[in-house]
């Protein structure tokens, strides 16, 4: 039985907007990779017990699903599998590697500038809420900021994003020095989610 408070669930459910099914499928693959079929079954059972049933196998890549459901199963996964923050970052990196959306966006992953310029476009392919923009792109000093506005999410999801951004940017810069770190978060009294990228 998961130990998520009613208040936390209510907060998660407040997340408005939708997410594309392809994203759920990426998470499904990651859960299967890390926890196997039994783990997936356990997660689905817990979601059902909470009153938010989800059948991952029936998810369609190009249908839209509630973002709140996405956030909720991540939180349930954290609780059920005892995943540390780093595993959520790994989840993000894994998602970007197998992502159908990333494959569609491959045509833009051809230069660093193009990659950052298309961040907003990338985001819109996944979510109906939130705006992702690039700020202070400084090629000389090898830094940039990815700012996510009008989006709540959940702290575990911030780590998923750190991993996802890292993976996509690693396609255009050497990954040895690449770092993506959330430096402002609305769950830590910030106004937006702000990620610092250094390479």
């Amino acid at each position: 039985m998961v130990l998520i408070s009613k208040t936390e669930i209510e907060e998660i459910i407040k997340n408005k907007g939708e997410v594309i099914g392809a994203s759920f499928k990426e998470d499904l693959e990651f859960i299967l990779e890390k926890e196997g079929k039994e783990g997936l079954k356990k997660l689905e059972e817990e979601m059902k017990k909470l009153g938010y049933p989800i059948d991952f196998k029936k998810i369609k890549s190009f249908q839209w699903y509630p973002l709140s459901l996405n956030m909720l199963y991540l939180v349930v996964a954290k609780d059920v599998f005892d995943w540390p923050d780093d595993l959520f970052r790994e989840n993000g990196r894994f998602s970007a590697r197998i992502s159908l959306i990333a494959r569609i966006m491959m045509k833009y992953i051809i230069s660093l500038e193009r990659c950052f310029n298309e961040a907003g476009n990338f985001w819109q392919k996944y979510y109906t809420v939130g705006r992702l923009t690039t700020e202070n792109f400084d090629k000389k000093n090898r830094t940039a900021f990815l700012v996510l506005k009008d989006f709540t999410g959940h702290p575990v999801f911030c780590h998923v994003l750190e991993g996802y951004f890292w993976q996509v940017i690693s396609y255009v810069v050497p990954k040895e020095k690449l770092k993506v770190k959330e430096i402002e978060c609305i769950f830590k009294e910030g106004k937006t989610h702000k990620f610092q990228v250094t390479w």
Binding site: E33, K60, S61, F62, Q63, R93, F94, A96, R97, I98, L100, A102, R103, M106, K107, I109, I110, Q167, S170, Y171, V172, K175
Partner: protein, 193 residues
């Protein structure tokens, strides 16, 4: 209200079409029996099929995001291929040596073709590997056999030459001896007289 409903139906239809397209591409990509991958201009592997997974021993999820040089014995090979493809747009059956996850060397013939964006610029390339290791083994075996046979032949020729020399030497000696006999006979005749 009606317009909204028909818009919803169109979106639904488009979603279903995209699902079909996704499944078609996925099936085709996975069916291809030739190890194939897609690489961006930074020589980073962005996609690979199951034949490549089987051939190299790397899982697709392990390989995506990795430098293409990981697959080659000579690390500058990836760069060379990219330079060549930039120049020619296509590579057909270029011989190369690759390395599997289990550190096994394999001979391959590489074919590659560029992928271009809407504005015509190169945004990546597809790379296919044909395994010619068995052929190379056979070829090496044949070459070794030919080499051995050549050596054997050379040895035999040398022996024959030696024999020939010996025979010729004997012949010459015989001729000289015959001459000596004739000379001695003449001398003997002279002495008798």
């Amino acid at each position: 209200m009606e317009a909204r409903n028909s818009q919803k139906i169109i979106i639904q239809q488009l979603s279903e079409d995209l699902e079909d397209l996704e499944s078609y591409i996925k099936d085709l990509w996975q069916f291809l029996p030739l190890p194939t991958c897609y690489v961006n201009p930074f020589q980073i592997v962005l996609d690979a099929n199951s034949a490549l997974e089987e051939f190299f021993g790397w899982r697709v999820s392990e390989l995506i995001g990795e430098k293409m040089e990981k697959l080659f014995i000579e690390k500058n090979q990836a760069q060379k291929i990219y330079q060549k493809i930039l120049k020619t747009g296509r590579i057909t059956n270029q011989e190369s040596k690759v390395l599997t996850k289990a550190n096994q060397e394999k001979f391959v013939n590489i074919s590659a073709t560029t992928r271009r964006g809407n504005k015509g610029s190169i945004i990546g390339y597809y790379l296919a590997f044909s395994d010619v290791s068995e052929f190379k083994k056979l070829q090496a075996g044949l070459e070794k056999m030919v080499e051995e046979r050549t050596k054997e032949l050379q040895k035999k020729v040398q022996e024959l030459e030696k024999l020939n020399k010996l025979a010729t030497g004997r012949e010459l000696k015989m001729v000289e001896l015959k001459k000596e006999i004739v000379r001695l006979k003449i001398e003997l005749e002279k002495t008798r007289l």
